[in-house]
Amino acid sequence: MRKIMLVEDDQQILDMMDILLRKIGYEPVLVSDVRDALDLVKNNPPDLLLLDIMMTPVNGWEFLEKLRGEFGNRDLPVLLFTAAPEAEEKVALLHDPRIAILQKPASLPDLKAGLERFLI
C-alpha cells in the first residue's frame, strides 16, 4: 500500500483525510506538528507528501526548502495541500516537477487526480 504523509495542523482535516485516504486505498501517516515531519520522512519514508502551507511555527514553504535543501531529499513528490491563493505563482517559480498543488477544498476526484499524478 502506498504511504501518504499528511502534514496538516487542522485536526478536523487530519481526521477526515485519515478516513478518506484509507477508503481510496492509501496508508496515511498523519503529522500534526510540522517540526516532527523531517524525522518522520527519514525514519518512515512516505511515497508522497501532502503538505499544508499555512502552519506554525514553520510554514509549508520553509519546510519544503529544508526538505529539498539541507535535508537533501529531491525526489519525494509533494502535493501542496492549500487554500492559499498565491501558491500557484510560487510553485511556478520553483521549477520543480515533483511539486504540485492540490487546492483546498479538494473534492474526492480532485484528490484522486492529484495523487495519481505522481503515484501510478
Binding site: 478536523q12 482535516i13 487554500a83 492559499a84 483546498k104 477544498p105 473534492s107
Partner: protein, 596 residues
Amino acid sequence: MGGRIFTVGRNTISETDLVRSIVILSFTICSILISAIAFSRSIPYINYQLFFIPIVYAAYFYPRKGIYVAAVCGVVYQAVGYYYSYPDSVAMLGVTAEALLFVIIAIVIAYFIEKIRSGEARYRTVFEHSQLGIVLFNREGFSVRQTNDKFAAMLNYSEQEILASVFTDLFFIDQEKERFLDRIDKHRETTDFETRLAAAGGAACWVNLSWSMIDDHTVSCTAININARKLAEKLNNDNMMKYRQLTEHSPTSILIVVNGVILYANPTFEEFSGYGAPEVIGKELVRFLDPRDLHTYSEFAQHWISRKPVASQGKFRFIRKDGGIRVAILFTNPIVHANKPATMINLMDVSEKLRLEEKIQLDNDRRRGIIITVAHELRTPLQPILGYLDMLITDPDGFGITDDTKKILERCLVSVDRERQIINQMLELSVLESGKLQLSRAAFPLERLVHDVIDTSGYLTKADISVTIPGDIMLSADRDRIYNVFDSLLSNAINYSKPPRNVEVFYRMGSTDEFHHISIRDNGIGIPPESIENIFEPFQLADAAKLSRKYDRIGLSLSNAKKVIQLHGGDITVESVVNGGSTFTLHLPKVVKSDA
C-alpha cells in the same frame, strides 16, 4: 592755413603757396646775381651759402619741389662758376661739388620733413577719424581746449560749440558732476567712468570716460558712447522685472542655473527645500539632491546642457534643510539670463502625489491581503465538509445511507461547490483589480475553445447551442482566462432563460478589421434598461434580490469577465430586450499590443 585760392593752368594754388613761391624765386634770383658778381670780382666772402636760403625754405615747405629748386640752383650756380673760373679746373671742380651739396641738402631736408609730416598726418587721422570722442580740457576751470567731431556728434553739438564750453557744464546731473570732480581730484588717470552727459536738446547721452593728465594743466579725455548698451541693459532689467514677478508668484519651484550653479531661486523653491534663497544662490544644484539620484541627474544634465527644453523621465529626490526628502520632476528651458545663456528649471513637487499613490497602493495591497486571508479561512473549513460528503455519497452502502439521505447529501455537495466557486471568483477579482496580473498569452483556435467550454461543462444537456465561428479564427490571448469568460457567459445565457433554451455563439466581422467580435445570444429574460449599466459591477445583478434566489448565482462572473477582456485591450458590450433575450459581445483586438 588756407585762405584764398588761385588757379594757374590746371593747378590750383593757395595764396600762401603763391607767396612762398615768390619768396623762393626772389631769393634764388638774388643768390644767382650776388654769386655772379662775387665770381666776376673774385670776392671770396660771398659764395654758395647764399643759395641755402631758398633751398632750405623750399625744402621745408615743399620737400619734393625743394629738390628741384636745389637742382635748378645747382645748375645755374655751376654755369656761373664755370663761366668765371674757366680754365681753372680746380675751381671748376669746387663749383661742381658745391652745386651737388645743394641737392644733397635739399634731399636730406625733404627726407626729414616728409617723415615728420607723415607722423603728423597719422596723428591727425587718429584724432579726427577716431571712433572715440576726444576732448582736451584744462585741469583748472575745465575749459575745453581741443575736441574732435566724434565727441561733438555724440552730444549733437558742433565742434565750435564744444570748444566754447566748460567740460563740467556738460554733465547731465549734478551728482554725477560731483562724482567726476571727486574722482579727478584723487586720480590722475581713470578708466571706465560711466556717466551721462547732456546732449543738445536736453537729452542724456551715456558715455564711458577715460582720462589722464598729459601735463600738469591738461587733461586728455576719451569718451565712448554706451547708449545702446545701457538701453539693452534697461530692457533686460525691465524684462527681468516681469520675469521676476512671474517666477516669484509661481506655484512651481523655479531655478535659474548656469553651469550647474544656482543663480536664482524663487520663493516656492525656498519652501520646497527649506533653504532661504541666499543659502541656495551660488551653490551647485547637485548639493541639494539625494546622492542616490546623482547618476540620473548627471545624465539628465547632459540633455539640458545641449540647450534644448527637456523634461525628466524620472523623479529626483531633494534633501531639505530639515533632512526631509521631497520628490520633484524637472523641466528645463534654455533662457538668457543677464546676457548669458542659462537654464531655467521648473521643479514640479510630486511628493504629496507620491505619498497618496503609495498610500493607495498600500491600501490596495492590504485589502488584497485581507481578501486572500479571508479566502483561505473560508476554504479551509470546507475541506472536511467536502471530504465527508464525497465519502458518504461515493459509498452509501458502506455508511448505511438511504437514497433519500443521499439526495440530501448531494444537494449539500452542490452548495459546497458553489461556495468554493464564489471564493474563487472573489480571489480572481482581487487579482484582476490589483493590476499585477500577467496574462500568459498564446495563440489558439477560437472555435475549438468554445466547443471545449460547452463539452466540459455539459451545457448541451441544458440548452440548444449553435456555434457559428469560422475554423481559422485564431486568438492570441490568455487561454485559461478566456475559457472562464466563455464559461461565465454561456452559463449566464443558460441560467437566465427558461426552456426551450436557445443559445447562439457567432463570430461577426466588424466595420474595422482591428477587432474580433464574438457574440453570445440567448432567448432569456433580458436585462431591464435601468440595470444594464450596472451588470458588470461586482456583486451587481439585474434585479438582484429576485434573480439571485431564482437562479442561484452571484454577480462576480460578469465583472471578472469584463476585466479579463479589458486586460486584453478589448471590451464586452451587451444589448438586451426584457423577455426578448440578451446578446453579450466580446471585442478582442486582433493585434496584440506589446504592453497589453
